[in-house]
Amino acid sequence: MVQYFKNIWSGLSSTAIGMNITAKHLFVKKVTIQYPDQKFTMPPKARNRLALDMVKCTGCTACAKACPVNCIDIETIRVMADDPHQELLHTGKERKLWLGRFDIDFAKCCYCSLCVVACPSDAINHSAEYEYSVYKREDLLYKFQTLTDEQVKDKQARLAEFMAIEKVCHPDDAPAKPVAKKNIDEKTE
């Protein structure tokens, strides 16, 4: 019987205590960050969308190898000596490899930052950009190459020409050697 009344009392009193707490919270300052108007300041390390500095990129494909999900797709074309279009790297050395294709599929990317660690020339980095939702998934495939399609075709042709000559001169050589082309995986896309 005593327990019965005790239970009723504790039921009422603990409700009152709870209501007191919630009433206090009714009047405290609200913590909400109103997103489109106010924006949270990103910490410097924040891992959002990858940004690429194509001037710095040497085409070493270290990032593609480090990527656990294979979302980076790179095709490199060796720079031919007879190509009138030559370029210097940011270090001042001559560019050895053209980047015929540098695609990052942000639909696949897992933002693990392993590519950033792997990059020897600090070309790939995380930016502070996180607002890039899209209506179509294809729009999430970002193409970073700076060369136009014609240039790529031209350079491929020059390489093929060179390869053909090479093959005639040294038929025993393994053909894979001068082709710095990396297809990470046989993708069915």
């Binding site: 603990s14 707490i21 390390k45 891992r47 656990p68 930052s113």
Partner: protein
Amino acid sequence: MSEKKRLDLEYSQLESDRMRINVGPQHPSTHGVLRLEVEIEGEIVTEVVPHLGYLHRSFEKHCEKMTYPQIIPYIDRIDYIAAMNNEWPYVMAMEKLMGIQIPEKVEFIRVIMAELNRIANHQIAVATFGLDAGAFTPFLFFFRDREYIIWILEKMSGARLLYNYFRIGGLAGDVYPGFKEDCLNIVKQVRKTNAEVMDLLIYNRIFIQRTANVGILPADVAINYACSGPVLRGSGVKYDLRKDETYSIYNRFDFDIPVGTGEVGTLGDCWDRNMVRVNEMEQSCRIIEQAIAQMPDEGDVQSAIPKRIKPPVGEVYMRAENPKGDLGFYIVSNGTDKPERVKARGTSFVNLSVIPEISKGYMFADLILILGSIDIVLGEVDR
């Protein structure tokens, strides 16, 4: 006809139809995509059959295709609520297999990170448990605090949830200036909110009525089911790998192992399991305070390891105290840079297996609470 037989017959006529209900995979309180096939008689649960695998993401298959450092992002995604704690046993296992010594500062940072993440995990656990009981406000109070913890973890690692911060032989980055003050502020905030939620939720009469004497898990059953973490400790077993199988530098800190006491009900009920989590937050706060005080300011955060990680042929089983229990990794190396086999002993997977045993005979509403008190993460259950 004997009296007993006659009564039995009468009762059997009274017996109502049993109803089979599918709880989940889309259900607000299965904490993910678990499906429970529940047989109820009126409101009483007579049988529970869990169906798993709705989040089976083939983790172990991926491990066989990845190099050792590439596995870490996938390990984050096992128990996505406590990713820092997840990475730890894996990197420890690799360090043991390869015989890597790690700098002292790394150990301190790892401890602080893991404990912060433990608090964040327990906040979610207690919050969702309250939500299962119908209390919405404590849920948001806890999430508000968790956000502050997440901000620290984000400043350290760059990500909010899946950190990829622990590396084999070290860490991905050093502490930022002002880290210690941030941690101490968090500790204060966590204690304040815990005191508030104690009044608002945990000692609320209705909440006690709902959770005490519900889902009682005796200690011997818990051990036989290999439960661990707060589920086992809630049954009164003082078992914590941080003390029992001291790894890292946990022997340098002074902290207690909270166990269930049966304060308002029976030992090993839902309330006890929940209370263990609340008390563990306090203990984690203590560890963080001590670690902050002892942490050296200078030092490397990465020891020298080969660029291509190729452990010797062999195998290792390493476990560490995850917020949910002991998470173990069984790694078999074949000498290449990809493992032969990685098996994750999911804590929630094991803890969940006790559900059919302890939920029989309780009400349907209790089943939800029992499930909530076990604190499962489906990523860990299904992997």
